[in-house]
Structures are given as structure tokens and as C-alpha cells.
């Protein structure tokens, strides 16, 4: 990989990190639990994407595998949590 491309990836990673701050602020501010859930889904996708970008930048296979597993596991947990929250709203 050329150094130009490495710089591009570096900048992209920093931009993604900054874009995590937006849903974090939204999660902090919002009163509605479903808006917070949305921010959380957004944060988890973005964080696992940063892991994938980093694995390409460093050429590290293990980090990449952990990133892919983070994508699937995190979302599965959130689906469970969404159902539990829905039950709470009903009760």
C-alpha cells in the first residue's frame, strides 16, 4: 500500500471516529428509549467498521475476524434488547 493510501485511510478512520460522537451525543440527550436504541445500533456498526478499516491498514487478519464477529454478535444482542424493551412498554 502506498503512503498516500495510508494517509487516506488514516483520515477516514479519524472521520469515522468523529462521526461516532454524533450518535453518542444523541444517546446522551434523548429522552425516548427508542431514539437511544437507534444511536446505539449506529455506534456499534461504526465501531466494528473502524475495526475492519484498521485491520486493512495494519494488514492484521485477526483484528479483521474479530471485527466481523463484533458486527453479528452486537446486532443480535440489540435485537434481544429491543424485544425486552417492547415487553416492558407493554407491561
Amino acid at each position: 500500500m502506498t503512503s498516500v493510501m495510508m494517509t487516506v485511510l488514516n483520515i477516514a478512520i479519524i472521520a469515522m471516529t468523529l462521526s461516532i460522537l454524533i450518535p453518542m451525543y444523541a444517546a446522551w440527550k434523548d429522552e425516548d428509549i427508542w431514539q437511544t436504541m437507534l444511536s446505539m445500533a449506529s455506534i456499534s456498526t461504526k465501531s466494528s467498521l473502524i475495526v475492519l478499516m484498521l485491520s486493512v491498514l495494519r494488514d492484521d487478519w485477526m483484528i479483521g475476524v474479530s471485527g466481523v464477529i463484533m458486527i453479528s454478535v452486537g446486532n443480535a444482542g440489540f435485537m434481544l434488547l429491543a424485544h425486552i424493551l417492547k415487553r416492558m412498554g407493554e407491561a
Binding site: 500500500m1 502506498t2 498516500v4 493510501m5 487516506v8 485511510l9 477516514a12 472521520a15 469515522m16 462521526s19 454524533i22 450518535p23 451525543y25 444523541a26 425516548d32 427508542w34 431514539q35 436504541m37 437507534l38 444511536s39 445500533a41 449506529s42 456498526t45 461504526k46 467498521l49 475492519l52 478499516m53 486493512v56 494488514d59 487478519w61 479483521g64 475476524v65 471485527g67 466481523v68 458486527i71 453479528s72 446486532n75 443480535a76 440489540f78 435485537m79 429491543a82 424485544h83 424493551l85 417492547k86 412498554g89 407493554e90
Partner: protein
């Protein structure tokens, strides 16, 4: 050449990401934000991963799996969030949640 293509894909992903995520700050309904988040999280992320795929084609199985799981899980999470949150809203306020000019979808 391949690096230009990859940079373009990553740039598109970042633009999608920032555009969709910034709608979280507004005061629209959960469902409206969900539409914008599906742009940013699913499509933007897929675009970024495709950019990474151009950069390092040797790792294609892993990145392809990332794309597939991203598509499937994010879409399913979107559906679950939509149905759960709309149920909760209906139960809480007991209002008719439909649009006034509600229309039957076409038969096709």
C-alpha cells in the same frame, strides 16, 4: 488507479455516514431516523468495505462475509426496531397511527 477507485468508495461511504447520522440530532420520528440510518449504516458501511476490498483483494472472503452479515443484521435490526417501537407507540397513546390520506397499496 485502483487506489483512486477505493478512495472514491470510502469517500462515498463517509458522506453517506455523515448525512444519515446527522439526522439523529433532529427531532423527527424514530421511523424517519431509521430510514436515514439505513442509508448511513448499511449502504455507507457497505461502500466503505467495498473500498477496502479494492485495497486488499487477498482478504476477500472475510470482507465479503462482513458485507453479507452487515446487510442481513442491519436490515433485520431495522425491522425489529421499527416493529417494536411502533407497537410501543400504539400501546402507549392508543392513537390511530395511520396517515389521514391512507391508501391501499396497488394490487400488482
Amino acid at each position: 488507479m485502483i487506489e483512486v477507485l477505493s478512495s472514491f468508495c470510502i469517500l462515498v461511504g463517509l458522506v453517506f455516514g455523515f448525512w444519515g447520522t446527522s439526522s439523529l440530532l433532529g427531532s423527527r420520528s424514530v421511523l424517519f431516523k431509521l430510514h436515514n440510518l439505513s442509508v448511513s449504516d448499511t449502504l455507507g458501511s457497505i461502500s466503505i468495505i467495498v473500498g477496502l476490498l479494492f485495497l486488499r483483494p487477498r482478504e476477500w472472503p472475510l470482507l465479503l462475509l462482513a458485507i453479507i452479515s452487515l446487510m442481513l443484521w442491519n436490515t433485520m435490526l431495522g425491522y425489529v426496531l421499527a416493529s417494536c417501537s411502533s407497537d410501543a407507540v400504539k400501546n402507549q397513546h392508543d392513537v390511530l397511527y395511520f396517515d389521514p390520506d391512507f391508501e391501499i397499496g396497488d394490487e400488482s
